[in-house]
Amino acid sequence: MKKRVIAVLLAAGMCVSALAGCGNSSKPDGAGEEGKVINVYCWNNEFSDRVNAIYPEVKEVSEDGTVTILNDGTEIHWIINPNQDGVYQQKLDEALLNQASAAADDKIDIFLSETDYVNKYTDAEADVAMPLADLGINPDTDLKDQYGFTRTTASDMNGVQRGSTWQCCPGLLVYRRDIAKDVFGTDDPAVIGEKVKDWDTIKVTAEELKAKGYYTFASYADTFRLYGNSISDSWVKQGETTINVDKKIIDWINDSKEWLDAGYLNKTVKGQWNDDWNKSMGSDSKVFAFLLPAWGIDFVLKPNWDGDEGIWAVTNPPQEYNWGGSYIHACTGTDNPEHVKDIILAMTATEDNLLKISKDYSDFTNTTNGMKKATTDASFASAFLGGQNPFVYFAPVAENIKIAPLSAYDQGCVELIQNAFSDYFQGKVDYDKAKTNFETAIKERYPDITEINWQDQME
């Protein structure tokens, strides 16, 4: 019994020292031997499917899909943890803390992150995602065909790019042709695009739709990305502990309240990803339009639509925006830098591969040249959109996206501000109470936040 206790105490002691040893992570020894195992941390099989389909070095995939064997015998081990309840980030964080002490074949070589929290991992001080330059990738030449904003997103505060993505998620306004004909007498995307070109114009249009008994959008959450992507300062500035609730976010709050009260939005649809939202995409719904990226049309809208094909069409949104995107990072301490470099280049910087992804998975991919080609390629036209080629509209949006300044706190801020003000929109609490609720929630999520600065008094 006593011996056991001592053993356990020793174990606990080791644990502490292992944690302490994590501050100074070691760099890979450049020219050394490459490891036999490439460990990839991700939250689903999206990336592994793409690699298995596109990456030319793939020899075979194990039956259960957990291991991919490359031509030179190196194995890619896919370590998949569900996103639910934050398990993915929790496991990744634990593994990153143990990275320095892990055996070579257990070290993380590649990990993935999403736009909402990419900044947490590209942080220069944390240094868990390697600068691409250290891998031998020159972002300015090797990745020059990528959309600029995706490169900015994957860079740290000093502008050092620490990740790269194969996808690019510009969003459009997707609308019902039958409603457009009923209200405006035409379903021409160019005409409708004119009617929704900015927030002032679309408000006039919303009044027209309302007169005929239609809602412009389903929910206040639908418009959030447009405002949230155009904030002028990041939610939290580097080195500070103050949250800035940007003027644009205040605009979203005020506009949403106004739109909801005016009846431009459907009151019964509370946020996204619920049954009511899904139903508002059906043929019985009175909702005119949705704001969705390429994957949204294919994955959300299509399965919910129960009418004929060709009823929907796309046009420009009132404001350029981006929604979603997964980033590939080389993990500091990897023992396979050459392989990682090759995978990143093949998956995110090779036009033919990216065009194949676009074709096979209806993704809008990260190649300006390739996407330009798609705009004139009739094979990219969509029957669901009545023969319209959506890339004609996607490509210019992608080029004009100015990504909002990011911070490591974005995921929580975006999520919690929508939740807190949802009560306010529905009239459950007043404006000030909603503010307090947001402040409480954000301080729980990020204990280091000391102050919340609302830019709602300024003019």
Partner: protein, 281 residues
């Protein structure tokens, strides 16, 4: 005999209450079954009261997915839940009997201690637990999901309460006079008396362990060791090309079948417990 009318009325009340409750309980299963028989596209459109025709399609999709080890997951869950239920009820009975039947110096302290830890919220210690088992080399193994159930304060307390109400110490004394060893007395005389209690707690432990997501999700890493709730979470987290809510409902349904079978098996023991009651006095 004297009051036939009230008993008829009583019978009507009893039956209507039971029918209402049974309806409420079964209704949700009905919804689950309906949802499991519809396709993802149908489900997205909203609720339907009538089952669809996709039952076999959905079942095939879940069962024959090479990257999704459904049978393996069910087997793992059976091992973990079965072993947990067995050792949890056995050792809890043992501990309860130890504290009930014997007098020793630390008895009071031990009892108070267990009662105190009974109220500790379990969520809190998860991270420390994870670090500990990693250092003990049990990360990504089924053992840390099973062994800790030896020490289940709540089950112990139930067993203890049950012993208090059902085991006269005279029976133990009688066994001693007959020359039975202490351990044998426990296994051959006390355990049979505790059968109803063990059956009840075995069901609860089994179900609790079967549906546990939090701890296994932290501990288990490799695909061939995943338990059912992690698999369901994996389905839910699938990327948009593969996301299929019909598969999720089907998996939830598949996951329930084994526990229903176990439950039916054990519930017979509870009934048998009534007849066993005669042993006592």
């Amino acid at each position: 005999m004297k009051s036939k009318k009230p008993s008829v009325i009583r019978s009507i009340i009893v039956h209507s209450v039971l029918i209402i409750l049974a309806f409420m309980c079964l209704f949700f299963f009905y919804i689950l079954i309906v949802n499991a028989t519809r396709s993802h596209a149908d489900l997205q459109k909203g609720f339907s009261a009538l089952p669809g025709k996709e039952f076999l399609t959905n079942l095939n999709k879940v069962a024959n997915d090479g990257t999704f080890p459904m049978f393996r997951g069910i087997l793992n869950s059976l091992i973990v839940s079965g072993a947990s239920a067995a050792i949890c009820t056995y050792f809890s009975s043992l501990t309860a009997y130890g504290l009930y039947a014997y007098d020793f110096k630390l008895k009071k302290i031990a009892f108070t201690f267990i009662m105190a830890i009974l109220v500790m919220p379990t969520q809190v210690t998860a991270m420390g637990f994870l670090r500990l088992i990693t250092k003990m080399g049990m990360y990504d193994s089924l053992l840390p999901l099973i062994i800790p159930s030896i020490a289940s304060p709540a089950v112990f307390y139930f067993m203890f309460s049950y012993l208090q109400s059902s085991l006269p110490l005279s029976l133990v004394e009688a066994a001693r006079i007959d020359g039975s060893g202490e351990f044998r007395t426990f296994n051959q005389i006390v355990l049979p008396i505790m059968k109803p209690a063990i059956a009840v707690q075995a069901i609860f432990t089994f179900v609790g362990s079967w549906n546990n997501y939090f701890v296994p999700a932290l501990v288990i890493q490799s695909k061939d060791k995943m338990t059912v709730p992690i698999l369901i979470a994996t389905l839910r987290g699938a990327d948009y090309m593969n996301f299929d809510s019909a598969k999720i409902y089907m998996m939830i349904m598949v996951a329930i079948v084994p526990i229903i079978i176990i439950y039916l098996l054990l519930s017979k023991y509870i009934i048998a417990g009534v007849t066993l009651g005669g042993v006592k006095e």
